[in-house]
């Protein structure tokens, strides 16, 4: 049964299918499993970070620090590996640091009642600044584990392949989907985004949920940072600049309401894929500058926000009639 609350996600999925099919008709070699899989390979880190962002936005907040946390993660990983640390120590460490960074921001947001926008903006500058404290240059990674993670191709039946990063991203996706819909933490997040005052009066653990949401986003950023390190094999303070905005765009295109309380992790997956497929089309076209991706994403964002407005406007109207 198609319920009205599922409309936004259907729009997103249909849009993705439409673009993909249109691309397949226009360009030879576009319609293949590998092109589809490449969307995942090239956007694994974006997917991970956008999933964390989905939770934050559903809870009614925003996290601007994610791009910087990715950059910081690449920097810390690269220097520690250069100093001879084992990846088995580096990866857990950066994941813990990212989570702690997120939890810290969440705690400030909750206990001092400061807008998430400001707190995470401060977090964004802080993390980006810390990158340059470590080094202003690119640090390349030649650790065997990292290079093997970067180069390993998992061949699928039919001859196409994916990278390990894709597996990680899909695992995160599965876990997040389960968390959003089948755990109390996930449902409390929706409740928080629906009406925080009510959530308090309903006796829900608002503090824990809110801090948890930012902690999860911090964790996702750090994990995306690890995956990004696999992808780039370097640490650099200019990595992932503006990625927080790509993530937010993916979430919004995926049908999540910026005002909170409504959205799906699955929508975010397609939000990321739409960004990817537009990029692919532009590279197939060949003559267009890659900045056209941004232009199209901008237009899409605008379109989706107007759609959301109409959608939530109708909800409001319904409430008034009631």
């Amino acid at each position: 049964m198609l319920k009205r609350q599922h409309m936004p996600i259907f729009v997103t999925v249909a849009l993705f299918a439409f673009i993909f099919i249109a691309g397949s008709f226009r360009y030879t070699g576009f319609f293949s499993a590998q092109v589809l899989l490449n969307l995942f390979i090239d956007n694994a880190f974006l997917l991970i970070v956008a999933i964390g962002m989905t939770f934050v936005i559903v809870s009614g907040g925003i996290d601007l620090s994610v791009g910087s946390v990715i950059a910081l993660t690449t920097m810390i990983s690269a220097t520690l590996l250069q100093d001879g640390w084992s990846p088995a120590a580096v990866i857990p460490l950066v994941l813990i640091l990212g989570s702690a960074f997120g939890a810290g921001m969440g705690a400030i947001i909750h206990y001092f009642k400061i807008q998430p926008f400001i707190v995470t903006l401060a977090g964004m500058f802080l993390a980006r600044g810390l990158c340059y404290v470590i080094s202003t240059n690119t640090i390349t990674i030649d650790n065997a584990f990292y290079t093997s993670m970067a180069q390993t191709k998992l061949t699928l039946p039919g001859g196409s392949f994916v990278s390990i990063s894709v597996l990680i991203a899909l695992l995160v996706f599965g876990a997040a989907f389960y968390m959003a819909h089948y755990t109390r933490f996930g449902r409390n997040t929706y409740a928080l985004g629906g009406n925080e005052q009510s959530a308090v009066l309903m006796g829900l653990p608002v503090a824990r949920t809110k801090i948890g949401v930012y902690m999860f986003s911090g964790f996702c950023s750090a994990l995306a940072g690890v995956v990004f390190t696999f992808y780039m094999l370097s640490g650099y303070g200019l990595h992932a600049i503006g990625m927080e905005l790509d993530a937010i765009a993916a979430v919004v295109i995926g049908g999540t309401l910026l005002t909170g309380g409504f959205g799906y992790v699955a929508g975010t997956l397609f939000g990321v894929l739409i960004q990817g497929v537009i990029q692919t089309i532009i590279s197939f076209e060949g003559t267009l500058s890659s900045w056209w991706t941004r232009i199209v994403i901008g237009l899409l964002l605008f379109l989706f926000i107007v759609l959301q407005k109409l959608f939530s406007g109708r909800q409001l109207l319904q409430k008034h009639r009631a």
Binding site: Y182, R184, N188, G194, N195, A199, L201, M202, G203, A322
Partner: protein
């Protein structure tokens, strides 16, 4: 009754806020299987008492006993765990979640941490069915249902948290008659099952219809606890306001004879209508006349008023104001001397973080243009003048308006529009949620304004009030103007008949 033991006993409760004694020495008892009304004017301490009981505020002195055991309530969670649940006027649930989820969130049945949705939905449906006599699709989001249903869902949630004490804080304010009936049926059923219900309302009728006992507060102090059957209405009111109820009774019944045809035509609407909001209607208002809109909630009263003010765009018909001509936008309406006091005091009227003075001069300043500012001295003079004239309390122009009681906020709003010296004042539910004393003051004020030649469009859900104030009444039903009456035709029965509709019931 006295041999039974109270399930909840609040003893000698004190609560201070900076500069205010909100509660001093208040006591309250609640027995199982009763509906107990908590009465008092605004500022009597009802909300404070409830917030103390639900853990929103802490107690300064005194204590709460639940089933003869002292309990400490420090947070809403504590209250819930003690078996005290509250349902507020504005439903405190999450509109984006499903009905079932709203009932069970935080306590969903789980297996290995996985929420069992089938179980949740089934349990929610049977809970609503059995205890609320309500069968609805529990998987739809809460906002898909009207407020009345949302309230029942909130009650269901409260009950499910093994509530022994249920607090209903102004639950009926935004319900229509049928919905109130439905709520009362549920309350009676729950009462029969031994639940103790604390009921707060402004509607006296409802108090007598449903409650067994009444506790009265005044000025933060305990006045008394009475059996509802042993407390006549008039005595209840005089105990609430602490003086003999002269003010209300002295209000003269409007003399219809004097200004019958005297005033010239001020406003004329011809088959003015808007699809989905109100069907085309005619209305004329003369100078110095008070026209009342009567009708149930949702009958189209507000919608009609918004058309008259130009706040909504009509699909058809015309609207003329005196000689000046047509009215299409609120801007034009204001220029031509129409002032509109919205029913949504909080949302569309007052600006919380400004002072009384600033809130009063707002409309005048706007009509003068922002570049000709009114000096602060002048502002204060104006504010003080109105504070005195309307008896606004506290009489301090620099008090933030959010700290005022509902009645006083309403007076500030009135002052704002009176200052612009309107020819027509539209008052949408000016007395909703304010206490009897302030109500009478506002009614009196409206009458004296009309004597001075101002026309007033008075909208209220309280029939009695509309009858008392108006020269002429237009009755609305189902988004249609069904009848207009004046003079001797105007009686409660006639209006009721028109509201109920011919022959149906």
């Amino acid at each position: 009754m006295e041999e039974r033991r109270p399930i909840l006993h609040m003893k000698d409760i004190h609560k201070h806020f900076p500069g205010v004694k909100a509660l001093s020495g208040v006591q309250f008892r609640l027995f199982p299987g009763e509906v107990h009304a908590l009465m008092g004017e605004n500022g009597a301490g009802k909300s404070t008492l409830i917030k103390v009981l639900t853990g929103v505020y802490s107690i300064d002195q005194g204590y709460v006993e639940m089933e003869q055991k002292r309990i400490a309530i420090q947070s809403p969670q504590d209250a819930q765990e003690a078996g005290i649940s509250t349902v507020y006027q504005e439903v405190n649930l999450c509109p984006n979640l499903s009905v079932a989820e709203n009932i069970f969130i935080g306590r969903e049945p789980r297996r290995f941490g996985r929420i069992l949705w089938k179980e949740v939905n089934r349990a929610a449906a049977s809970l609503l069915e059995e205890r609320m006599n309500l069968s609805i699709d529990v998987t739809l989001p809460l906002h898909a249902y009207p407020i009345a249903i949302q309230q029942l869902v909130a009650i269901a949630r409260a009950l499910n948290i093994s509530a022994k004490v249920l607090i209903l804080d102004e639950p009926t304010s935004s319900l229509d008659r049928g919905e109130v009936r439905q709520l009362f049926d549920v309350m009676n059923k729950l009462k029969g099952e031994g639940l103790a219900i604390l009921f707060v309302t402004h509607f006296l009728d409802q108090v007598y219809e449903i409650s067994d006992r009444i506790t009265i507060l005044r000025g933060g102090e305990f006045v008394g606890e009475y059996a509802a059957s042993a407390l006549p209405r008039i005595e209840l009111v005089s105990k609430m306001i602490g003086k003999e109820l002269k003010l209300l009774e002295e209000l003269p019944k409007q003399q219809a004879d004097a200004n019958e045809a005297a005033g010239e035509l001020l406003l004329e609407a011809k088959s003015l209508g808007r699809k989905g909001s109100i069907e085309p209607f005619d209305l004329s208002i003369r100078k110095g006349e008070i026209v009342g809109f009567a009708g149930l909630l949702g009958s189209g009263r507000t919608e009609a008023a918004r058309l008259l003010f130009g706040a909504d765009r009509p699909d058809q018909g015309s609207l003329r104001m005196g000689e000046a001509g047509a009215v299409h936008t609120p801007r034009q309406a204001i220029d031509q001397g129409i002032a509109f006091c919205s029913e949504d005091r909080k949302g569309e009227g007052i600006i919380d973080d400004l002072t009384i003075r600033e809130n009063i001069v707002l409309a005048l300043q706007a009509s003068q243009g922002w570049f000709r500012s009114i000096s602060k001295k002048r502002q204060s003079e104006i504010a003080e003048q109105f504070i005195e004239a309307l008896n606004i309390n506290p009489p301090n122009p620099d008090q933030l308006i959010k700290n005022l009681s509902g009645g006083n906020q309403q007076k500030v709003l009135l002052a704002r529009w009176l200052l612009t010296d309107p020819k027509l004042l539209i008052l949408d539910e000016p007395t909703r949620g304010i206490d009897i004393g302030a109500k009478a003051e506002i009614q009196k004020l409206v009458m004296s304004l009309s004597e001075k030649g101002m026309s007033v469009l008075f909208i209220s859900s309280e029939l009695e009030e509309v009858l008392r104030v108006s020269d002429r009444i237009a009755v609305l039903r189902d988004r249609r103007k069904v009848k207009e009456m004046s003079g001797d035709d105007m009686s409660e029965q006639q209006v009721m008949k028109a509201i109920a509709g011919g022959g149906e019931g």
